[in-house]
């Protein structure tokens, strides 16, 4: 029974029976800059009004003045927990627009990086769900493995969080032996730790009681709200861009799409965990395929796109043609072929789409990012309505809301 039924306010009182609470914008439990104005009856949420845009950086406007290669660092800052996925999505879009086909080895190397970054995203999300439900140790167990993944990025591209990894046509340099050693080390140690993490959480009575039935949504509502990725799959819809519209040679791999049934926090947690196992299996398969390239084939790390792929520095200093291309690329003087294209990849949070219109100039005429976070965040008031305040916090972290992706 509602508590407010027992309260009688004197006539003419301006007091109200409900409490207004600002959850955010800088609340530690929101893990990012979101504001939710909650109307509470006791501890039950009657309504939530979401405000977004606190870190809006006008990426779409910025992109209209930048040549293609300068837009890659912008995509880093969308979902900053899995920057390489955004980078690869952008490179794949550019390659599709320019009609570039990449060698198989590049595709497989990209898949290794993409799946590593999916794991790093999911492990943060799932361990944060644990933190928000009062179980801190899982977070500490998994976080050290994000460090290993970041070391692999560092070995490949030189940076860790906002990676700017890869180039149009392939990678900036070949993977070093150290990168492969670190990958092997990760593949050897991570499964054990993930197993331990699952032992801590999956059948933990307290965790189950906290998450089952919390923030649930039906498949039909989820699709109407534009959910994609693990959040949609947790409701039982097996939509995955990697399978529906394969890109970067995903069709060569054997993997499952885990689905849930109820679409609540617990199912989202299980789906993400299962996806990490699938990603591990994909990385293993891809690494095997990469090792099969021998001799000069093992030296291939980019496609032949001289107009967009920076030539090697020693060629720039000794060859006329390379110098010209170097100058034209750096100054952004290459015209992009006219056309319009929507291309999407399965990012960690769902379908990350790039809608690019080119009028034949040096920069895109219009570029729009379809950010999965921004679209499914609309469901938050519906997901939290009638629940407790602490459920709202878990729902937020299990949706994996990333402020960067929300605001663009």
């Amino acid at each position: 029974m509602s508590q407010s039924e027992h309260i009688v306010l004197p006539e003419g009182s301006i007091e109200k029976l409900t409490t207004t609470l600002n959850l955010g914008p800088t609340h530690p439990a929101t893990h990012g800059v979101f504001q939710n104005v909650l109307e509470l009856d006791g501890e039950r949420i009657l309504s939530a009004v979401s405000t977004v845009g606190y870190i809006h950086r006008a990426f779409e406007k910025l992109a209209e003045r930048r040549p293609l290669y300068q837009i890659t660092p912008i995509t880093d800052r969308l979902n900053y927990c899995s920057s390489p996925l955004n980078n690869m999505g952008w490179h794949l879009t550019c390659e599709k627009l320019l009609g570039v086909t990449t060698p198989k080895r590049v595709d497989y190397l990209r898949i290794i990086i993409m799946e590593l970054s999916r794991i790093s995203d999911h492990l943060i999300c799932n361990s944060i769900v644990g933190v928000d439900s009062g179980a801190y140790s899982g977070f500490l167990y998994l976080m050290q493995f994000r460090e290993l993944i970041y070391e692999i990025y560092e070995e490949v591209c030189g940076s860790r969080l906002t990676t700017n990894i890869g180039r149009i046509g392939g990678f900036e340099r070949n993977f070093t032996n150290v990168a492969f050693e670190k990958l092997e080390q990760f593949l050897a140690t991570y499964p054990k730790q993930l197993k331990e993490f699952e032992t801590l959480f999956t059948r933990n009575r307290i965790f189950m009681d906290r998450t089952i039935g919390c923030g649930a949504i039906t498949a039909e509502r989820a699709m109407n709200y534009g959910f994609t990725g693990p959040n949609l799959r947790a409701t039982g819809v097996d939509y995955d861009v990697r399978v529906h519209t394969p890109y970067s040679s995903y069709e060569d791999f054997d993997f499952k799409i885990p689905v849930g049934t109820t679409g609540d926090c617990y199912d989202r947690f299980l789906v993400r965990n299962e996806e990490m196992w699938e990603s591990l299996s994909i990385i293993n398969q891809a690494y095997k395929k990469v090792q099969e390239f021998k001799g000069t084939d093992a030296e291939v790390f980019h496609a032949d796109v001289p107009a967009y792929y920076l030539p090697e520095k020693k060629d720039v200093y000794t060859k006329m043609e390379a110098l010209i291309y170097h100058f034209k690329i750096i100054m952004g003087e290459t015209d992009i072929p006219a056309g319009e294209l929507y291309s999407s990849i399965e990012a960690a949070n769902g379908e990350l789409g790039f809608y690019i219109i080119s009028d034949g100039g040096r920069t895109p005429y219009r570029l729009h990012f379809r950010r999965p976070c921004f679209i499914y965040y609309q469901a938050y008031p519906e997901l939290t309505k009638g629940g407790m305040l602490s459920d709202a916090v878990i729902t937020m972290s299990s949706l994996n809301l990333i402020a960067g992706e929300l605001d663009a």
Binding site: G226, E340, Y342
Partner: protein
């Protein structure tokens, strides 16, 4: 379901109201006038054969040179069962940029229409809460329109004849 069958089905229903059929990079693209936008979306949603029930994306584009149809609202729709995508455009006059809201069909259109309003000033008739979303409420212009160039126009130290757009 192929692009031809979709085009045939839509032409049967709407006749000449749908124009500008194209297939850039394999995605069926067509346009309609603004009176038809909700009718077309409703038909695409309800029809058993088409059933485009997933709104992937919604945004606008500004073409200052097209007199009378400066703004284009672009819908990307997806049929998840057959895995077919289409693109649907509605061109609007910038003096009166009103178009019917798709929120009754797709909940996901809510934020996307607010974003489009915020950046381009498209007025979505029937939207439950059409206010600015990413920019500050006090803003009195629509920043993604082409009349607002990115760089400060008062700058004199940079010669743009040689580099950049």
């Amino acid at each position: 379901m192929t692009n031809e069958t979709i085009q045939k089905k839509l032409t049967e229903k709407f006749g000449d109201a749908l124009t500008d059929w194209q297939e850039p990079y394999g995605m069926l693209t067509f346009s309609a006038t603004k009176d038809f936008n909700l009718k077309v979306l409703q038909f695409l949603f309800d029809d058993e054969f088409l059933s485009f029930r997933f709104l992937t994306d919604l945004q606008a584009v500004h073409y200052p040179d097209r007199t009378g149809e400066e703004l284009a609202v672009v819908y990307h729709l997806h049929n998840l069962t057959d895995n077919v995508r289409i693109r649907f455009k509605v061109f609007l006059d910038i003096q009166n940029p009103s178009v019917f809201s798709a929120t009754a069909l797709y909940q996901s259109a809510n934020f996307m229409e607010r974003e489009t309003y915020d950046f381009f000033g498209v007025n979505f008739v029937g939207h439950p809460n059409l206010i600015r979303i990413l920019n500050v409420d006090e803003m009195d212009y629509f920043p993604m329109r082409k009349e607002f160039p990115l760089e400060d126009q008062s700058r004199v130290d940079k010669d743009d004849d040689m580099f950049g757009r």
